[in-house]
Structures are given as C-alpha cells and as structure tokens.
C-alpha cells in the first residue's frame, strides 16, 4: 500500500571483485553490506549523518582507473559508477590501516571488559577480535578519568571507555533534537560532556546507551546487573503508548532485566523512548496480586481459582452488566472482552475508554478511525502535518521523531494548534496557532490543506466539543488524512476488536443488521442475541451502576481516576469483578479480584495508532499468571456461554476472520464548537514520564521526568501578581492543587497543569477537563 516508488538512479561498482548495483547516494560501506562484506566500523550508523571520525572503515578506492592516494573512510563516500573498492579482504593497505586504527582505539581504552556491561555484546570487543592485531604494542600510560559520571539520573558516562565516535551526540542533536550532550576538550582528553548545570534532558536518552559501541554509556538501572550471554531475548512490542515500538525484552532467570529498541523500519526505525525502555519494574513489584481474591465480610481473602471463578460467574449470572476494558489490553484480550460482553453477558455496555471521552468521539471513531490505514509513511510523504489536541513528544514519542525526521530532511511544514507552544513544537519548527482549550475547532476551520496533508489528532481533542467534528469537516473539504493517536497502546486494538458500545469487531456498526448477523454467525449465537442499540460509554456505565440499573461490572485494568469525577457509588452497590495486576481503586471495592498476566508473561499483539498489528511472544518463561482472555473464557464457560477459545492464538485466529468489514461505516453527525468558558480556563495533558502506574519503582527514570509546574503566560502572571517560581493554587468546586509557576508561551488566561504528576493530578484533584473554568490565586 506504499506510494509508487520514485525511480532511483542505480550505480554499479565492484567491491572485492564482485559487482553490485545499488541506488545512487548509497555509501560504500552499505553497498559492501549488500554483498555480505562487513567493513568494520564504529562511528557509522545508518540513521545518523556520516562523520568519518573513527577511521575504522578505511578501504582502498579507485574510480575509473584513478586510485585515491590514501585509503578512504567507506562510511562517508557515496558510490560512483566504475568505482573499484578493495576492502580488508583484498587490499593489504586497507587491512593494515584497519588494524592500525583498531590498535589506536585500544591505546586509551581501559579494557575493563570483565566488569563492563557491554562485554559480550561490544562492537569494540568483537571487532578487535575480527579486525585487530593479536597483541597491542602499547606499553605506555593510558589517560584516566573519574569512573562513571551521571549525565542524567539514568545515563552514566564512563569517559575512559568512550571511543569518541560521536554517535550519542549526533543522535541527540539530529534525531531527538536535544543537543544537551556534546564533545568538549580536545585531543585524547576530548570527552562527551554536558553543560555545567544542565543534565542530559531528553526523553530519548536511552537510545544513546543502545547505540554506544562500547560500554561508555550505561543505564543506571541495568548497570552491573547481568552479562549479555546470560540473557534470553524475546522480540516484543511496547505496551506504554500507541506509537507501537518494537522492543527486545531481555530476561534472565525469569526476571526482565532490560528492554531495548527493536528495529522496525516502518515504525520506530531503531529508536524508542525512555519510558518504553526503562519502565518495566511494574511487572515485578512486591504488591502484584498473586492469587484470586474474593470479598467476604467486607474484606478480600485469598481463594482458589475454581472457587473464585464460581463466585465470579455466580455474581454475574443473570445480571445486567457493564464491561470496562481500559486502554492497555492486547488486541486478543480486548476481543475477548468484546465477545464476553455480547455473547456471554448479552450487553453492548462496553467501553475501552477509561479516560475522558465523549459521544462525539465515539461517533468519530466509528466513522473516521476504525479500519483506517493512515501510516507513519503518510507522514513521510505529507505536504503538511497539523497537530491538534496532541503534543507528540509527550504523548506519542515516535510520532514526534518521525515528524521531526521529515522536518529535518525536507522542511516538512507542521502546524500546532495548542494553548501552549511547547519545547516539542519548537523542535518541530511548527507554526504555532495558540488557542484556548475548546477553541481548537475554530482554528481548524481556518486551515486549508490538501489530500497530501495529515491531521494528527490526539485523544484529548474529545474534551473540546466540536473539535473532532471540525477535524472531520477539514478532512472532508481537503481530502487530508486523519491520524488519530490515542495515548495507550491498547486503544486502537480495542476499537478494532469492538470493545466499545457502538461497534462490533472489525468496526461493524452495531446498528447495522447485516453486521450483527455477520458476527453472530461467526460466534455461532442467535443473531438477535446481540442488542441492537449502542451501549453506554464508560462514564454512563458507572452512572447506570450508581443508579442501580447496571448490577454487575467487569473491569479490566482501569484506574477510575483516569476519568474526571468518577461516580464510585455503583462500585459499592453492583457486583464488581476486577481483573488486575496490582491493588487499585477498583480492587479495593471489587467482590472478586482475579490476577492477570502482564505483557511480558503472555503472548499477544498490540495495534499501533496506525492500526498496524504487531505480535509478540511471552518473554518471561515461567509465570503463574494467565491472560485476561483465558480467565474470561473460564468464566464464560462457567456461565454456560463459552467464548469458544481459551488461548491467545485461538482468539487471534477468530478475530482475524472478523477483523475486516467491507460494509458501510457508521455515519457521523457534526457537533458544534462549544462556547468558550469565561475567566481562566484549564489546559492539561499527560507528560511522558509521570505518576503513571506502569512507571512505579523506576527512580532513575523518574529522575528525568519534567518538573511539575503550573504554566501561565506573562499576562496572567501580571494579573495575579506572581513571578516565576511563585506558588499558585488552582481550584474548582471539586478540589485544589498548588504548584510553582513557570512563565511559558501560553495563550492569555489559560493555566496549564500536568495531568498526572505526583503533585498535579488535574483530573482527580480538580475533577474537570480541558477548557473548564478554574480559579487561580497566588499562594496556597
């Protein structure tokens, strides 16, 4: 489905006697790879611009009979027709040059491999074996530095081991746009450095650890924990956000010790963010729920699986029920919840949106998102990218990197509609259209786009009434593509799987009789057993439970405080079945709590925001835990309405038969843009690193989270009589929170707060959404 490949000029050259034809612009080192000829290298990285610094990749080159007088760095020289390249395999000069450079590299290298994290997977170690002399002739004194220094709370730098390849600094500057590490000093004292008082402040810093070809950069959390050859690696998919990164999970004796970015050229290339890399302790915390629990006399007690399943089935039997899935379930688990709701419980009251949501959003998802195939590659070819309700660096980091790549490569024009011009927007050189929260729709209406444009919509735009309608209208007018980017990794999959009240699996509208027949046939149930009208959304399900209309709730991985002002009354009165990893506000009130497997403990798949499915295998070999879908299958069985599968593979196979729907999509009716609130209004979203439940027990990672501050502009500060650093209190009828002020580039009369920082959980503490009027005052 990719666009027509532009015709590229081809170049034919000879390397070590073999002819090879490659596209124009290919570097010699990569043309050699095509032939399976590995030229040793350190500074070269296919995704970074060449520097030619390490000189390890020297080869002899001749063009049309004219030889270069000296060996050339093959990582910097593009191929040419008639080029004859001789690598170490056929040129004694190249061979000796490479051995010489390798010997130089080891002159000042401490060779402390036995205590180095990189030992065993170290390009320097490996290439010293393949391309170095047997023995060093260096008998002098090595330069020494203080052993590792923290360049951030999670990255340590051992300058003695650094071979000054500048991969880390180039990554930070070119890819992440965070030029907070750079080379300092000169000669053999040259070193990677940070500015005196500024640490390495980047959400992408872990990539430098991964691409460092030696053990100079190490992660605080992994340091001295294991040797690479003791690890068992499993390709995996990140569960933290909808960017959809491929990862690699490294496990030793049943414990996850680290995660690395996987190489997926269509998605995350070779990068990922620090959250995906360094937030995984949550699966191994002490308070993981270990056994089923049932409530007896008001307290939870341990129970056997058969007992708990029986109690759960009993509690659900014959009751009008609602199902809340959360946004983190795998596609297969979501599908199981979707089927469980319809086929077992007989209800459409199911929603994966355990966060602010709206009817407008649900209609929008059904009409414009489900089944859509907008991809990262559409960003690569876009003429214009519009960001609305979305701060990509905070809310989907790989989307950020991809846009930034195009901005760097071809000055892609980016427009950001937002109340705050963030650092991320600046790094994208975005044209910033400052609007108060709620007014995004009006700004969208002013834009003119083409069918090559992409409108990237964040999930929180649903908090601005009419915003999504304006997106739909702009797309209709211009033909622009819509990329809806939820935050959580499971949301897009849950949408496709039908874990929402208005859609059956594959985006089949619930209101469509043919769709219901389709699904009922696949499920071998009576077609009239699927309710014909759309079910309630998350908020309405809670409310219905509070009113006593819904009498049983099945809740998987939901934190009620991810919604604003949740109504807990229903949790007290209804029968609550909770499937959870760790104690939560739901388990506290649940009648039956069933422990479930974390992503590392099961197989499955996630769908990125693009709707691209990526599957993963179980990374931890032994686990007492079972996937949600297996547990649901047991309950369904006990209820006499079996799911028909009990394995991930079974669920995936069945969903596969339903995943596509060629019938009509649901229609969408436009909602008007709401009138702006008076006074000071709230803007708030989540930052990448915050108080999120999957980030527990990661002190090093937390050390690089951005400071929680209240952001206002100078106009509002003057009105309030506050200066940078002063304390302000923001309050509503619901509650209040206090933070220090940081003057920022915001629109007038808006205060921005982190949505889920320790001291600033705006939903929970203030009980209001973006665009709501809030009170703000100086001091406590």
């Amino acid at each position: 489905m990719t666009a027509v490949q532009p015709q590229t000029d081809l170049i034919t050259l000879t390397i070590d006697g073999f002819e090879v034809t490659v596209p124009k612009g290919t570097l010699v080192i990569r043309a050699a790879e095509q032939l399976g000829i590995q030229i040793p290298r350190f500074c070269d990285h296919p995704l970074l611009s060449p520097v030619g610094a390490c000189r390890q990749c020297l080869v002899d080159i001749e063009i049309n009979g004219r030889a270069f007088p000296k060996p050339q760095a093959s990582c910097t020289i593009p191929v040419e027709n008639g080029m004859v390249v001789k690598t170490q395999l056929t040129s004694e000069v190249a061979h000796k040059a490479q051995e010489g450079v390798m010997e130089f590299l080891l002159v000042n290298h401490p060779l402390d491999c036995p205590v180095c994290d990189k030992g065993g997977e170290c390009p320097l170690q490996n290439q010293a074996m393949t391309s170095g002399r047997g023995e060093s002739r260096f008998e002098g004194k090595k330069r020494t530095f203080e052993k590792p220094i923290n360049i951030s709370s999670q990255v340590l730098l051992d300058r003695e081991r650094c071979i000054l390849c500048a991969r880390c600094t180039r990554f930070s500057k070119e890819i992440a746009g965070d030029p907070f590490i750079d080379m300092g000093e000169r000669g053999a004292l040259q070193q990677v450095a940070i500015y005196e008082k500024d640490p390495f402040d980047s959400y992408f810093s872990g990539n430098t650890v991964q691409i460092c070809p030696v053990g100079a950069l190490t992660g605080s959390a992994y340091r001295f924990r294991s040797r690479p050859f003791d690890l068992v690696s499993t390709p995996s998919v990140c569960e933290h956000c909808a960017s959809g990164c491929s990862l690699r999970t490294d496990v030793r004796r049943n414990k996850t010790l680290r995660r690395l970015a996987g190489n997926d050229p269509e998605v995350n290339e070779e990068w990922n963010c620090d959250k995906g890399r360094w937030a995984f302790q949550y699966t191994m915390v002490k308070d993981r729920i270990a056994t089923p629990l049932i409530r007896e006399n008001g307290v939870l007690r341990e129970a056997s699986w058969p007992e708990a399943i029986a109690v759960a089935a009993n509690g659900l039997q014959g009751k009008k029920a609602g199902v809340l899935v959360g946004g983190r379930a795998t596609v297969e688990d979501s599908y199981a919840y979707a089927k469980f709701a319809r086929a077992t419980l007989g209800t459409n009251d199911i929603d994966f949106r355990s966060r602010p949501h709206s009817d407008e959003e649900r209609d929008f998802l059904a009409a414009h998102v489900v089944g859509s195939k907008v991809r990262y590659s559409d960003i690569d070819t876009a003429d214009h990218v519009v960001l609305v309700g979305f701060e990509p660096e905070e809310e989907s980091p790989i989307v950020f990197l991809r846009i930034r790549k195009q901005v760097r490569k071809r000055a892609l024009s980016v427009t950001a509609i937002s109340p705050w011009q963030t650092r991320g927007f600046k790094k994208l050189q975005a044209k910033y259209i400052g609007v108060a929260p709620g007014a995004e729709g009006n700004a969208l209406a002013q834009l003119s786009l083409t069918n090559q444009s992409v409108i990237v919509v964040g999930e929180r735009l649903c908090e601005s009434a009419g915003g999504l309608s304006a997106v739909a209208e702009l797309a209709r007018k211009s033909g622009a593509k819509i990329a809806w980017v939820p935050r959580r990794a499971g949301e897009r999959g849950a949408l496709e799987a039908g874990a929402i009240g208005n859609l059956l699996p594959g985006g089949r509208p619930i209101s469509d009789a043919a769709a219901r027949v389709d699904v009922a046939a696949a499920w071998s149930i009576e077609s009239d057993s699927i309710p014909t009208s759309a079910g309630s959304d998350s908020k309405a399900i809670f409310a219905a439970a509070a009113r006593g209309e819904i009498k049983a709730l099945v809740i998987g991985g939901v934190d009620p405080f991810d919604m604003h002002a949740p109504d807990f009354a229903g949790l007290e009165s209804a029968f609550v079945l909770s499937l959870e990893l760790r104690p939560s506000a739901i388990t506290e009130r649940a009648d039956v709590v069933l422990p479930v497997a974390a992503v590392t403990e099961k197989s499955g798949s996630f769908m990125s925001w693009e709707g691209r499915t990526r599957s993963f295998e179980q990374a931890v070999p032994e686990t007492p835990h079972q996937s949600d879908l297996y547990i649901l299958s047991l309950i369904a069985e006990a209820l006499g309405k079996p799911l028909g599968f009990s394995t991930v593979r079974g669920a995936a196979k069945e969903f596969g038969t339903l995943a596509n729907w060629d019938g009509a999509r649901a229609s969408f009716t436009s909602h008007p843009v709401a009138n702006a609130a008076q006074g000071v209004t709230l803007a708030s979203w989540r930052q990448l690193l915050d108080n999120g439940s999957l980030q527990v027990n990661e002190p090093n990672l937390a050390g690089t989270a951005r400071k929680a501050v209240a952001r206002i502009n100078a106009q509002l500060a003057a009105k309030l009589g506050v200066a940078n650093g002063d304390l302000v209190t923001i309050s509503t009828d619901h509650g209040a929170l206090s933070l220090n002020v940081e003057l920022s580039d915001l629109v007038d009369d808006v205060v921005w707060l982190p949505r889920n920082a320790v001291a600033s959980q705006s939903l929970r503490m203030l009980g209001v959404l973006n665009g709501a009027q809030v009170n703000i005052r100086k001091g406590l």
Binding site: R55, L58, L105, K141, Q190
Partner: protein, 435 residues
C-alpha cells in the same frame, strides 16, 4: 645581485608602513580602484592567469578556487581570510600584518569583489594582540576612507569586513574547522564534500584564503599577470615570503621568487649561526618532512620540494645546526601535535598520545632499536589515515628524521640518554661563543 624581490615587504622599514598614509604613499589602494573598474570575472581570470598559488600550505591555485564559487545563485557569498598562523616555524602572516595590514585589506576588497561577496571575515590567531590592534585600526581607517562599507568609491559595491579573534587552537587554521569556529562552534574539521566553495560559512559559498595569498593580489592587479609569471618557476609562479628562523645569523622574512634555494637564502641571511654548520631544516613548517644539508640546492618551489620528499608548505625554514638533537626537536613538535590534536579522529588523537610517550622514552635512553620500527609503523598507520592533515603533519617529522638520523636515535639508546648538551643549541650559548 640580490635575489630578493620585495613587494609585500618593500616598505616595512618605513616607520609608518602600517598606516593608511604610509600605504598610500606607495600607491596603496590603486589596485582596488583598478579592480573595481574591471568586470568581476576578469579579476578572477587575471588571478588565474597569474598562476598565484595559495600560500597557506597546500599551494592550491587561488584563481581556480575563486572560480569554484557558483555565480548567479542568489546566495550570499563569503570571503574568509585565514590569519590563524599557528604552525611551529610559520611566521610570515603575523609580521606582514604587523608591518602592512592595509595590503591585506586591499586584497580582501578585490577578492570579495571578484567572488561577489558582500561580507568578508578575517580569522586571526588570538595570541597576537598587537597585530590585531593594527589590523583593527587599518580596517577602521579603510572604512573611514570609504574603501569598505556601502557603495565603495561610488561603484555600487558594498562590503563589510569583520575581524574575528580566535581562541588559540592550531586546528582552527584548518579551513573547515576555522569555519565552524567562526560560526561559534568548537573548531573541528568538517566532512567534505560539501566543500567550502559550495557550502562554507553558514552553508554559503565561501572562499578561504591565506593572508599572504590575498595580500599578493593587489600587486598582481597593479602590475599584471605577466609581471607575476615572469618571476618564479614553471609551475610555481611569482614571489613569496620565506621565513628563516633558528640557527641563522639574521633570521626574518625574505621575499624572493619561488625556486630560490636554501643555499641562496642562507647567503642573504648571513648564513648558519657562526661557527656552526647546517644539520637539518624544515622547508615549510613543522608539518613538512625535514631536509638536511643534502638539500641546500633544492629549488624551493612546490614541485621541486615535493620531488625531494617534502612539501613547500608555508615556506617556514627552520634552521637547525649540529648542536641540535634531532630527537629532541621532533619530540617537541610531537608534543605540540598531541596538544593540538582536535580529538575528532582516532589515528591522530591516539597516535600522537602514543608517539609522545615512545619518543620521551627514547630521549631518556629507554627502549630498543625495535622501538624505531614500531615508531615508523605507528607513523605509517597515522599518515594518510587521519581525518585532516594535522595528523599527517604529526607523522612527517618523525618519519623523516628517522630516515636521515637513525644513528642519532640509536645513540640515545647506547648512551642511555641524550648525547647532546641542550645548552649548546640555545641562543645564549651562541652569544657566549660569539663573544
């Protein structure tokens, strides 16, 4: 009978040679007037015809370099003058600017006009404060006289000239490192291509020329290409400044046609320190392989010097007599390269670090003859393997000195240390001897 051809240095002995009045008294700025009346391309053609080659070390034809600047590209062009002069032994630009800064300013105006640059920069070595002051004054006076600024001489040509003072790094004399430094970054050589002529300063087409190259232009404009080509040798045209230093009786600048020999230059400079004889010398600064008394008659032009195994470089002739320990001299140079290596590439960064340690050991009589082979092999792994020419320069003195003075290296080992009396090589030793 003198072979000297003073042009740049013609009036250095006048007390006000560095002032505008002193310069104009001898026709200063007439070449500028002439050039501004010419077509810019004709100026480039004239400089091409003159055969003027860059005086910064590499000897690249200056007119050709100017011709590489794409014209009609609607981009700003820049001229950058390299006045970083930091190579050991090289000491021509500094006295030239001290005695006659206006000739450079005039050359800058002509060159900028030719390449259609509206802004020129002079990047001057930071340590030479006294020269900086004179150059600043000259620039200010040129502005006042209407030779710089808007609409120069009413000819519709605008030129701003900025003097930038470096912070003292040899590598910032390498043209691309210079450009980075000028842009405010840490000076390290850039990957080429793109070459400065396509993407130089601020990624705009840029000519980088040495002080002496640019300062030679006014005379060429004034007197014509034929006059210039009548001097020098077949492929090395014109006159140039030869800088004699070290063990000579009258060290200094000797402006002579290319192709003069050291023997002739020594005659002009009063010969090797009295009572002593020539042992070795550098033809073009410390980065060029050394010569010995066997090369006294080698014509000092680009081709002949290179045929004899060295490079004309900056024509910085450092003269060492028989009192000098060659190992000691080479070690000092190597220490310089180690100190000045920018650190970007492995061979130079690590190689110089290592070479210094071996040479120090040898100086102290530690090691064996096998260390000489090792030394040469390390140099072989450095020469032509580094990112820029600084690394090559670091290897040259070692390789050439072992070639000519292997016995002296070995003498250190058999002697258990340096067989020379270091005092004998000093100036105060010679004044004692001469007294």
């Amino acid at each position: 009978m003198s072979k000297l051809t003073p042009v740049l240095s013609a009036h250095w002995d006048e007390p006000d040679s560095f002032t505008l009045a002193g310069y104009q008294r001898h026709g200063g700025y007439n070449a500028m007037k002439k050039a501004l009346d010419m077509d810019a391309d004709a100026v480039i053609a004239l400089v091409k015809d003159s055969g003027l080659r860059g005086r910064g070390g590499a000897g690249f034809p200056t007119g050709n370099k100017w011709g590489f600047i794409p014209q009609g590209d609607n981009k700003d062009h820049y001229l950058v003058v390299n006045a970083d002069e930091s190579e050991p032994g090289t000491c021509k630009d500094t006295p030239l600017l001290m005695a006659n800064p206006h000739v450079l300013v005039e050359g800058v105006i002509i060159a900028s006009y030719a390449i259609r640059a509206k802004h020129a920069f002079i990047y001057i070595r930071g340590e030479v404060t006294h020269v900086t002051r004179r150059l600043l004054q000259a620039i200010e006076d040129a502005y006042k006289a209407g030779f710089l600024g808007k609409n120069i001489l009413g000819k519709g040509f605008d030129l701003e000239l900025t003097l930038h003072i470096g912070a003292g790094a040899y590598i910032c004399g390498e043209e691309t490192a210079l450009l980075d430094s000028l842009e405010g970054f840490r000076g390290q050589p850039r990957l080429r291509p793109p070459f400065p002529a396509i993407a130089g300063l601020y990624a705009r087409p840029t000519v980088v020329n040495n002080v002496e190259s640019i300062a030679s232009v006014p005379a060429i404009i004034e007197k014509g290409a034929e006059w210039f080509t009548s001097l020098g040798t077949e492929k090395s045209k014109g006159f140039t400044l030869y800088s004699l230093s070290g063990h000579v009786n009258n060290p200094g600048q000797f402006e002579a046609p290319l192709g003069i020999t050291l023997r002739e230059l020594l005659e002009l400079s009063g010969g090797v320190r009295s009572g002593h004889r020539l042992k070795f010398w550098t033809p073009g600064g410390s980065s060029t392989p050394i010569f010995t008394d066997a090369h006294l008659d080698t014509p000092l032009d680009y081709e002949s010097v290179s045929a004899a195994g060295s490079m004309l470089g900056t024509k910085a002739l450092q003269i060492f007599d028989e009192t000098t320990c060659v190992l000691r001299a080479v070690l000092r140079w190597t220490e310089f390269y180690k100190h000045e290596s920018c650190g970007k590439c492995t061979p130079c960064r690590e190689g110089t670090w290592w070479l210094v340690q071996i040479l120090r050991d040898l100086e102290n009589g530690k090691g064996t003859e096998a260390d000489l082979a090792k030394l040469l092999d390390i140099c072989d792994n450095l020469l032509g393997r580094s990112f820029c020419a600084l690394g090559d320069g670091a290897a040259s003195p070692i390789m050439s000195s072992i070639k000519y003075f292997r016995g002296e290296y070995i003498a250190h080992l058999t002697n258990g240390g340096c067989p020379f009396d270091p005092v004998a090589a000093t100036l105060f030793a010679s004044s004692k001897a001469g007294a």
